[in-house]
């Protein structure tokens, strides 16, 4: 069936197909997800294959998440597709104040998966480009996943549906079509475990989602200069696998954190805070971080490419760190 390999987007579609096939409690709810198959086609043909279980919602993010909460506490396993991560802020209240507090307040689990097509693409502009994992990670009661590979997109989405808590599943739109794997995986790292995407001894780049690939490209480039960069892919930003990060910094002594999200606070700041407070003695240089600029995500490709970290800006930051 898959001739030229399976894409990140197809993996997401296949994970949902399998979740629907394996578990009668699963249903999908979101705008245009039904017979249309979703704005990005992540639910292509699922409404036809699973009649009555892939429902078009009104343009009502608050009510989409609210209904998911009600269904989840009744034992269902809803998957909510936000058309873009940016629109999830309309449903923010239900996510952070209702879903995230449910188990703590009542002892009744609230297993919902909320898919956020996130991250910038050329021409996306301020409202179709956001990386907002940080604001969800800030709230207790949520799991926040940021898969960077086709394999993780598949296995982590299945895991998200199986977890008894609300999961924010940040899938990067830039990876949808470009990233390919030969086949779907049959096994995976446990949720909450970071992955050493590339081993190295001179410095550690901790990153996640699409920035993993930029960091790997930097590692390739620096390898030609004799510098071995270790790349840690966090996979989930909450829980944050501090142990793997700390072990890597213990090996390399240098830390650069890269994220596509905005710079104030956030995942990169959290990683640095943990390493600085718990592993200060492991560091041979001040830990560094690189994020997008502190403006809305711009529309024009020239501006967009300069707004987010790229291979060249990460490489510059890495070289700078090596000199410190």
């Amino acid at each position: 069936m898959i001739r030229d390999g399976i894409t990140y987007l197809e993996a997401i579609r296949e994970a949902q197909a399998r979740a629907l096939a394996d578990d009668p409690r699963v249903f999908i709810y979101g705008q245009d997800v039904g017979s249309f198959g979703g704005a990005f086609k992540a639910t292509k043909n699922l409404a036809q294959e699973f009649p009555g279980r892939v429902l078009d919602s009104p343009i009502s993010e608050d009510a989409m998440v609210g209904a998911a909460i009600g269904a989840a506490i009744e034992g269902m396993r809803p998957i909510i597709e936000m058309q873009f991560a940016d629109f999830s802020t309309v449903g923010f209240n239900q996510i952070v104040n209702h879903a995230a507090t449910y188990f703590w307040r009542t002892s009744v689990p609230c297993p919902i998966t909320i898919r956020l097509p996130c991250g910038g693409t050329s021409g996306g502009g301020p409202f179709h480009s956001q990386s907002i994992e940080t604001i969800y990670a800030h709230y207790p009661g949520l799991i926040v996943m940021t898969p960077a590979t086709v394999e993780d997109a598949y296995t982590m989405l299945l895991e998200a549906v199986a977890i008894d808590d609300p999961v924010i599943f940040c899938e990067h739109k830039l990876l949808y079509y470009h990233l390919k794997a030969d086949k779907l995986p049959t096994e995976a790292l446990p949720t909450g475990k970071a992955r050493i995407a590339r081993a190295g001894r001179d410095m550690t780049i901790v990153t996640y989602s699409a920035m993993v690939h930029e960091a790997l490209a930097v590692a390739d480039e620096l390898a030609t200069e004799g510098v071995e960069v270790e790349v840690v892919d966090l996979r989930t930003v909450k829980p944050l696998d501090t142990d793997t990060v700390m072990a890597s910094v213990a090996r390399t002594g240098r830390l650069l954190c890269v994220g596509e999200a905005w710079p104030w606070g956030g995942v990169t700041a959290e990683v640095i805070a943990r390493v600085a407070s718990e592993g200060f003695g492991l560091l041979d240089a001040p830990p560094q971080r690189l994020n997008a600029k502190d403006t809305p995500v711009p529309y024009h490709p020239n501006l967009w490419a300069a707004h987010r970290p790229t291979k060249s800006s990460i490489a510059a930051a890495a070289r700078n760190l090596l000199r410190l």
Binding site: A63, M64, G70, A71, A72, N97, A100, W104, D165
Partner: protein, 347 residues
């Protein structure tokens, strides 16, 4: 012969009407006594945070709770002590939540009116108005997926809550999905201090039903008999496939927003208008008039109810508060996925 049969039916109907009325009245009474006790505990400094009473809204609330059955879903709001009790909440659960007892359903993690038992279809509210409606929709969708029919979900709201986006999204969602939702709005004239004139500009809130494509009902919320009749119709219609029902009740909040609020802003003319009638007193008068109860019976009910509430409070006041050292401080059901930065103590 035929006339005799009709006569019997009429007698039976009158008897049912009386039984339902008296039953609902007793929930109203229990709620009033319980609320008054909470107010007195609050004034005595025995309750942390706020106390929110349902004074003046007991008839409507009791009618909602009593119109539902086990297996239905109920999402009450802050002034629904009567409806909660009628739906099956125990006095102990209510008192334990206000006093923060770890033996209550919220275990001191949440308090006052934020209480419920979701596994019994009794949903604990969040403070964000309108947010409960879509959650009720979700429980009804789940029932539909499971093939469970004949159930109803009721959500309560004030007129202030109708101004939220959550209200709009959820009522529209229920209409699109044709869910058996009964949305009960107590138009008590003030959202905290804001009068209805600053809340909406439509002629009557019930007109909103037309726009959403749902059935609208308007009722005098100070009249228990009317509330029982209208809620009975609305719940019955939702249960038998009539789709969402919007019930708007006119009444007046006979207390502050919370016990911290003296409600000085309430227009005195409203207090003396028909809206300001105390539904509990009016129900008593009706029972006496209809000879459904005697003054002595009423007195006995008041005394017994007071005793019941006092006993529950005395019981809970002897219970230890929650122990922070026994708290596992983990917000996740999957405790193995708790973020490792702060050490999570496994139970």
């Amino acid at each position: 012969m035929v006339q005799t049969v009709i006569g019997r039916e009429a007698v039976a109907e009158a008897s049912t009407q009386r039984d339902e009325f008296v039953k609902a009245f007793r929930w109203m009474l229990l709620a009033r006594v319980l609320d008054d006790k909470f107010a007195s505990l609050y004034r005595g400094g025995k309750i942390h945070g706020g106390v929110f009473l349902g004074r003046g809204q007991e008839a409507l609330s009791a009618a909602v709770g009593q119109s539902l059955r086990p297996g239905d879903v109920f999402a009450p709001l802050i002034r629904d002590a009567a409806g909660r009790l009628a739906f099956g909440e125990t006095v102990l659960d209510a008192v334990r939540t206000y006093l923060g007892s770890p033996l209550g359903p919220m275990r001191g993690r949440d308090g006052n009116v934020h209480r419920g038992r979701p596994r019994d279809g009794y949903l604990p509210m969040v403070s964000h108005l309108g947010a409960m409606i879509a959650v009720v929709n979700g429980t009804l969708l789940a029932r539909r997926f499971k093939g469970v029919t004949g159930v109803v979900g009721a959500a309560c709201l004030g007129e202030g809550g109708t101004s939220t986006g959550a209200f709009h999204e959820a009522l529209n969602q229920a209409a699109v999905e044709k869910l058996p939702l009964v949305l009960v709005v107590a138009n008590n004239q003030y959202a905290y201090s804001t009068p209805s004139s600053r809340q909406f500009a439509c002629r009557a809130l019930v007109d909103k039903a037309i726009g959403y494509g749902v059935t609208g009902h308007a009722v005098d919320g100070t009249d228990l008999a009317a509330c029982l009749r209208v809620l009975g119709e609305a719940v019955g219609s939702a249960r038998t496939g009539g789709g969402p029902q919007l019930v708007i009740a006119r009444l007046l909040r006979l207390c502050g927003h919370g016990e911290h609020d003296d409600a000085h802003y309430v227009d005195p003319k409203l207090k003396t208008s028909p809206l300001g009638r105390d539904c509990l007193k009016f129900a008593e008068e009706q029972m006496l008039e209809q000879r459904w109860a005697t003054s002595r019976e009423l007195e006995t009910w008041w005394n017994k109810t007071t005793q019941q509430v006092e006993e529950a409070v005395a019981t809970v006041q002897r219970e230890a508060g929650p122990d922070p050292y026994k708290e596992n401080w983990c917000a996740l059901a999957s405790s193995h996925l708790a973020d490792g930065h702060e050490q999570i103590k496994d139970e």
